[in-house]
Symmetry: C2
């Protein structure tokens, strides 16, 4: 299968051979070149075909990272940082071969300050491991993209997820980073101060750079106090538009909702079947409120009024932790639930994000497109941010089906851009969205190229992602 | 007076003459070259000596900006964007001469969306003008650096101010920008979507770049709903440390305070005298809470308990708008009040920002330094962010006094960096803090240089700021 934009790059065979030899000598079995390792490191929850690296290094220290970067730089060989492989747009593929730098063994929490509400972690710490670690501090790290991704990977792709509507995205929650840059040395992008006007915002530049500017070696994150009270609820609507209208009113009224997720009827059907639930198979909002007993009650009452006004049915409310866990487990399993609708098909997960006032129309038009073209394609969205996902189930053996899926994605992106939105709210560009980034950024793409060229002049860091290699 | 780091740069006399001639022909009296205009455009609320531009262009349209940039680029002549001139670290000086590009006539609100809680403005709109414009929408723009700065200037210096503790800084409140870059064309750094993972974060790169990467031509900002209820209060403490401890506890308990400002006894004395107030002349916190009747009451009760625990005296509380306005007018006039303590002296306003757990010690040590060295130097801080300012009153005719003031600033910055903080929370680098940025950023400065070189290869945009020219 060849999908648009996923082409092989030029391979520097001589350099690759030299790098493998040097690293084998220096790292022993921390370098692996077996087919299984290489395949696993080009594998993501993606529709894109695999492009294997030539070797996988399991970094254990910053010194390992420096060594790999220096060696690869000396021989002009790609370095592709790898977290848990849960990215969706081909971010860990190796179109020109090279070294996959697996960061999972760098999984220590380096320091935590309950006083300053911050923590410093190595990139391989996963968000679940971090929250387990923090359990006794009364603090938590709120960003939750669904997958148990690594903090390094979440930083690199500017992840967000279900509760970004309240706590922001990785851009808002990373205080500073250390990064090994193209010269093989480690820099710090900032301090632990809550704010700074000290020069260019290198932290925000690396957040979302998808491994194309350097290898992240530690991340200092803001933390939040665990809310005194958490409440959750579910509400079905007659139409996707009615559900979106309820979201818009909730945001506009300034209700500090912690999560407000939209699942369309296809997604609800999938979730019911997969997670053994019995919800109505109608467009539905999943909600969560954080606060005190008092404020959570107040927020849920305010939302109930909005829901009623939008024709919402039977707003089911629960303060019970177990029921809530079940609810969000079902939401987090939405991807797998959808895939289970048609196990013989592949899934293309794509996301766009639009201004909230355009959300209802954009989702409704997308829904109409799906129906009109006979796709099996559940919609699920972080509706409070104007961000939604479509999972198109398609036959990756059938060139016509691939072409139809690609045409759908193109229409979806054009629709989002026309609405003043962006081609990706949280999945990133990787290989899959380069065409749409070009459309969205226009001449601003030249600045991105200038930055890439200035910081990584040899194009060794994750080449062929975000920007076309050699462009 | 020559202060460290404020040296004249190399002047391109031939290029400057050519540019002035071209612009005179094209712009008529939108170009001004009289001494008064040039002096006014090198003047800021700063201790730094003036370095005059050769001409001032009053841009009225994006086309004017493009023309100036293209002409200056063609002749290698500096372009220094100018807002209201309220920057503090020499950001609008012209060490190599060139054109001051005054943006104050580009002062239109271009669009506002109450539904999306956002607005797009030209750079010359001031924050007060914006809030006046928004009055009937029920929305407001929260960032408040004290001075009635322009939104363009606030964006360029990553401004924050009194209520950043609740609403964040410019980095958190700018959705996207349009910018005229070195080729004289206008680019857009993003969309109106609330979040995006589409490539490098150009928006955050331009926020805080102090005019060194391009000229901002429009800014799309997030807005907030005007709180249903605002309450304010004042509380005196025995020591600066006790006041800081109260701030730390407030933040750690997660009380969503909208403003929490620290004024030391010298500052209180200055404010009482200047604003005709009768507060106790002790370290004092000024507070503001935003919310509903209920939540504001709750927050103020929680704070009152904390204040009592820290030995705070007579927490005076008011929901009255007029009294509150008087309070914050006094706070905003703190700079002028301090200058009035010794009208024959000049004032050096400097700021640092540290992790909140270090704030009490850092302020106490700074206070001890002031006492020990016999400075007249009020301290005032956005304490909730760990950010504080010192205004050192010094005789700018006396080389010894200049040296003593500079040595104090150096100690202050060393103290902040040692505490894991930053050399500036909100004033920016300009010319005054380049030495401290070098210390703070270390090898990361090379990345800033690479970015500058990549985006502005001729170094025409505000040369000699943030980074040394030709470095």
């Amino acid at each position: 299968m060849v999908l648009r934009d996923v082409q092989a790059g030029r391979r520097n065979e001589e350099g690759i051979a030299a790098v493998l030899e040097i690293l084998r000598g220096a790292l022993g079995d921390r370098l692996q070149t077996g087919q299984a390792f290489r395949e696993q490191h080009a594998h993501t929850t993606t529709y894109l075909p695999r492009q294997l690296p030539d070797g996988v290094v399991f970094a254990e220290t910053v010194e390992d990272v420096k060594l790999v970067v220096k060696t690869c730089a000396a021989h002009h060989v790609p370095v592709i940082a790898f977290g848990t492989g849960s990215s969706l747009e081909g971010q860990v593929n190796a179109p020109s071969g090279g070294i996959s730098l697996d960061m999972t063994r760098m999984d220590k929490v380096l320091r935590v300050s309950a006083e300053d509400l911050d923590v410093t972690v190595e990139p391989g710490v996963t968000r679940e491991a971090l929250n387990t670690y923090l359990r006794d501090t009364g603090l938590f790290f709120p960003i939750d993209p669904g997958a148990n991704a690594s903090i390094g990977g979440m930083t690199a792709t500017r992840a967000s997820g279900t509760n970004a509507v309240r706590y922001g995205t990785m851009k808002d929650n990373v205080l500073s980073l250390t990064v090994v840059t193209a010269d093989g040395e480690e820099i710090s992008t900032g301090t632990r101060a809550r704010k700074s006007s000290a020069g260019y915002d290198l932290t925000r530049l690396f957040v979302g750079s998808e491994g194309t500017l350097g290898v992240i070696t530690s991340i200092t994150l803001k933390l939040q106090g665990i809310p005194e009270k958490i409440g959750g609820g579910v509400c079905a609507f007659q139409t996707v538009k009615a559900a979106c209208d309820a979201v818009i009113m909730t945001i506009q009224m300034g209700i500090p909702v912690a999560r407000i997720e939209l699942l369309d009827e296809t997604q609800m059907k999938a979730c019911n079947a997969y997670s053994g639930l019995t919800y109505e198979e109608k467009p539905t909002l999943f909600l969560e409120f954080h606060g005190t007993e008092e404020t959570v009650r107040l927020q849920s009452e305010q939302f109930a009024m909005i829901a009623e006004e939008c024709g919402g049915e039977g707003f089911q409310w629960t303060g019970d932790a177990q029921q809530r866990a079940k609810l969000w487990k079902a939401r987090h399993d939405a991807y797998w639930a959808s895939r289970a609708l048609a196990p013989h098909l592949n899934g293309l997960s794509t996301d766009v994000c639009v201004p909230i006032s355009k959300l209802a129309d954009c989702v409704a038009d997308t829904h109409a497109d799906i129906v009109e073209n006979g796709f099996l394609a559940p919609i699920v969205g972080h509706a409070g941010d104007g961000n939604f996902h479509v999972l198109i189930l398609f036959d990756d053996k059938d060139p016509d089906d691939i072409a139809r899926a690609e045409a759908f994605v193109e229409r979806l992106n054009r629709r989002a851009l026309a609405a003043g939105g962006t081609c990706t709210g949280e999945h990133g560009i990787g290989q899959g969205k380069m065409t749409f980034l070009e459309q969205e950024a226009g001449p601003a793409l030249n600045l991105m190229r200038a930055i890439k060229q200035g910081i990584d002049p040899l194009d060794i860091f994750n080449p062929g992602k975000i920007l076309r290699s050699g462009s």
